[in-house]
């Protein structure tokens, strides 16, 4: 049996660890592995090559994805999905591991319907995949964000500033919520809950000042955004030097944390096991303390909510 592997969508630290695990476990189990460059585009461009154990040497510790990634709009169209299935078959690829997020899993689902056995592995720094309590890259991203915020705290505290730090998360506030709790931020603005009540934020700053608290850190998720203008408005209102920093792409990179390397390895190995067992249209998940898998359709229909207890407690901790 020959399996293919690709990474798709936004890159996430740990993708290389997952690829390595698929390749190594497949070879141990007697399969052949072919790598595909740049996600689904690489199938259409037939950018497909053989991989062996050495192809993934010295990749475990590296951020990004050695297989490269790209967004491929064509792949939403049925004709291109059919073309991709044909190309995969032509290359002898019976099973395909797709490492990426929800969008990538939709592609995997399409290929599954066209007779290619596909397994998705959840990888996104945003954690916004409902069926799993862990997504590859999230742990590295929150540590990167936290360490950056720790540095900004130093200088903001020295100048007794108010600061707004914008972290990634367009639709999901996980990075913002975790990094806010971890850094003891005074405020966190999440796409899921933010009510645009800037008056409340301003009142909070003024209240803290009156209590003698001089540093005020606001973690703002990308999905709320508007940090630069918000900083200007707040400064004008409260008369305190207020600066915004957009952490940006540093959050996507970096050598993966131990958790990301281990969990990504386990998930990659799980994906290989599912293919080996003849499964298709499944997505690997870490759920209730163990590695498991879900039907892709079922997985895509699930809803994810920020944990209520974390939201509640985050508010109590900053008093």
């Amino acid at each position: 049996m020959t399996i293919g592997i690709l990474t798709s969508g936004g890159d996430a630290p740990g993708m290389n660890a997952a690829v390595r695990a698929v390749v190594r476990t497949a070879i141990v189990d007697g399969m052949k592995v072919k790598g595909i460059s740049r996600g689904y585009s690489g199938i259409l461009d037939e950018d497909i090559f053989e991989m062996d154990s050495l192809s993934v040497a010295d990749t475990l510790t590296r951020g990004g994805t050695k297989l490269l990634t790209a967004r491929c709009k064509e792949f939403y169209l049925p004709e291109y999905q059919q073309k991709a299935a044909d190309i995969l078959r032509k290359n002898g690829i019976e099973g395909l591991v797709v490492i990426g997020g929800d969008g990538s899993f939709r592609g995997a689902q399409a290929l599954s319907r066209l007779g290619i056995r596909t397994i998705g592995v959840p990888a996104t720094i945003d954690m916004d995949i409902a069926c799993t309590e862990y997504t590859i890259g999230f742990d590295t991203a929150i540590n990167t964000a936290m360490e950056a915020i720790d540095k900004i705290r130093d200088t903001s505290a020295s100048h007794e500033r108010c600061c707004i730090i914008e972290v990634m998360g367009r639709r999901a506030g996980y990075i913002a919520l975790y990094s806010a709790i971890a850094s003891g931020a005074e405020e966190v603005l999440l796409p899921e809950t933010y009510d645009n009540d800037e008056e409340r934020i301003i009142a909070h700053i003024l209240e803290n000042r009156s209590k003698g608290k001089r540093l005020h850190m606001i973690i703002n998720a990308e999905g709320v955004g508007d940090s630069l203008a918000m900083a200007e408005r707040i400064q004008r209102r409260v008369g305190i030097d207020t600066r915004a920093t957009l952490l940006g792409h540093i959050q996507r990179g970096g050598s993966p944390t131990c958790k990301d390397r281990v969990y990504a390895s386990m998930m990659g190995a799980k994906a290989e096991e599912l293919l080996r067992d003849g499964k298709s249209n499944r997505v690997v998940a870490y759920y209730h303390g163990e590695y498991t898998d879900f039907d892709i359709e079922e997985a895509l229909a699930m809803q994810k909510h920020l944990p209520e207890d974390m939201l509640l407690i985050s508010r109590k901790l900053i008093r």
Copy 2:
């Protein structure tokens, strides 16, 4: 209601985050908090002081424990446990949060029987507490170990050496197993499974050499130990420069990772919630994806086993 708080046993990064969470949530909920220095010794020495919100400012990011810790042998004796309960009562302390490991929970259990409401919070870098899938400090420790191993890999690869890296874990191989998978080590020796078959280790080294693999990393848990002598024996047998490094106490320290700060905060808050709700003799746990709690007796009776899937997959990944 007045509650006390102490840290006990070996220190672990994140203990300060847990203390901060207990203090801050208790104050928001209208309780008074007293800190106790040096674990159970601090009760007997009546080293007890009031804490407010400011007492825990600037501690979230700090390793170690600001409350200090110590081992207290006397506390195994019933007469000292009675004395401690009396002192706590004299200081108006009705509930007590004990942050530590299994040994510390036994003390908490004793005090609970003597009428002090006690809640344990699991903190140990070794992860060897059966009722919970997370213990405070483990995530920081595995990252510290992994980063040290990454550095040793650089120099060992340059010299084409065999190296043995001894990590913490007297009875439990969690740090060794995680850091071995995360660093792609060729071998991992665990107290739970090591069969003293050094011949197999040597055969493995020679086999890899014959395949052209020149770096050979062995992660050895403290509970297996003997790394320096083992390095000498191996070097004598295989004729390859073999060095042992004992990572030692660096694994206990360091600013906690994001996970350790967040989970420790959540667990501290959970402990406060349990006391507020009138519970006693409970230990906080993270189990099957959520924060929960167990009876201390029940928790101490539980058995913990290294995950079988991790053991299996760790062997496949290094081929």
Copy 3:
């Protein structure tokens, strides 16, 4: 003899180490030390307090400045300088250590003329103080910038992007030049040398693409700026996804590097030695391999130029 100490202007990692060294060496030498909050403002506000050895415990490893800092426009006016000298005298302060940049040294010069013995210690992440080959904070800042760029490289390489990374340095390109060499960036734009020839930058990108190089990193100094618009223009012209990241305030913070802790300690001790020896109106410097000092007026008149050899070699290294 009583001496005062303040930090002024933008904060820089290592300021605390310098303060600690002044305090500790002065006490060993039998002097009294008074701390002043928020730079020159703190003199005018008479925010002055006694310091002892313990006041600086646990500060060596911390970023920012525990003495706080602020810009003080009033202090440019002679009447306020006179007021400050009077207040210092009233508080028994005969000598003053001013840790900051060129602007802060002008204030020190003014006080020196008014009979307060002053010593400047160069601290700025920008390295733009002409008389010294080292300024406190530069080493930490370039490592922070480099580590952030290393992370951005991971993700940019995975997406085969062009990226522009804006680092600090309004008038001086030191952070940009060092971090560009250290990260192997394809291009570096410096305020001292940039000729606004965007056509050349674009030609360089296209040339590299044609050679098969797909990642293209441009380090841009704040003094050149315009990174977001530049990214848009470049993307429009070359048709390659191009993203800008402004590293911002993370570059000011963080626990100081070993060099920053050691050199800042040595410079603080040197400042104390100068005061002890009855000197005034001097600025401490690291020059040609040793710690020395210059007359402030002379120091402010010196010109600093980016090292020609580094500029030349940086261009050769990226071929």
Copy 4:
């Protein structure tokens, strides 16, 4: 003109940056470059291969040495030196860059006498090369040591322990002295100055205890050694829990710091410039604030002394 390049002796972070700089600048200047594996052994084994610009891609950020290194005892013998010169000539190599320490420079000197133009580049984490104020790898090593000590401080402070931390430096105390100042250690033992007066160390510990200082950190250089036994002796005498940690090989590895990457790049480029200019038997140096070069014989005859001012001030800072 064709030049060869090798790394020799103990590896040091930044060696790859120096190799990259030699290769890239030589190619820009129209030379050919050949890499040699495992230092002088690689010449004798004729392990010589062509290098181009791509051979050094993705090496700048990596610790260790991609050219590998080895100690080669044979090379002390004139007959092997002659054989090496012959092999180099046979491979068309007219000039050779040797990256290493004093021992490696002696080999370079021998080859120079045999008509191969040789340039040494100083690389050792120990800083024990007299002609230069910077050696490749030192800056990374002191930061690694300091960060490890920072972690050990956390746990030692929590337990109020005395701790001995052994850092590298067999004959030279630079790593010990820098990391001791940077970490605020109470004591530092250097091979150049240690008088074996353990009574004084013990008296110092007891004095600090009596003053209420409970953490006591001793940085001990490898050249003094004996840390484990010393810890036992001290514990027996002072009755305070005393632990020794040997940092070991982590100090050799790790991604190089910004300074190491930049200075190593500059030194590599300088070596190429010297070969291009027809020089031989020179060693590159950073001396009094600029990159320069010395005759190898002259360089080897120079003496290096720990800076007196640092020794003096280090003692004042810990009061």
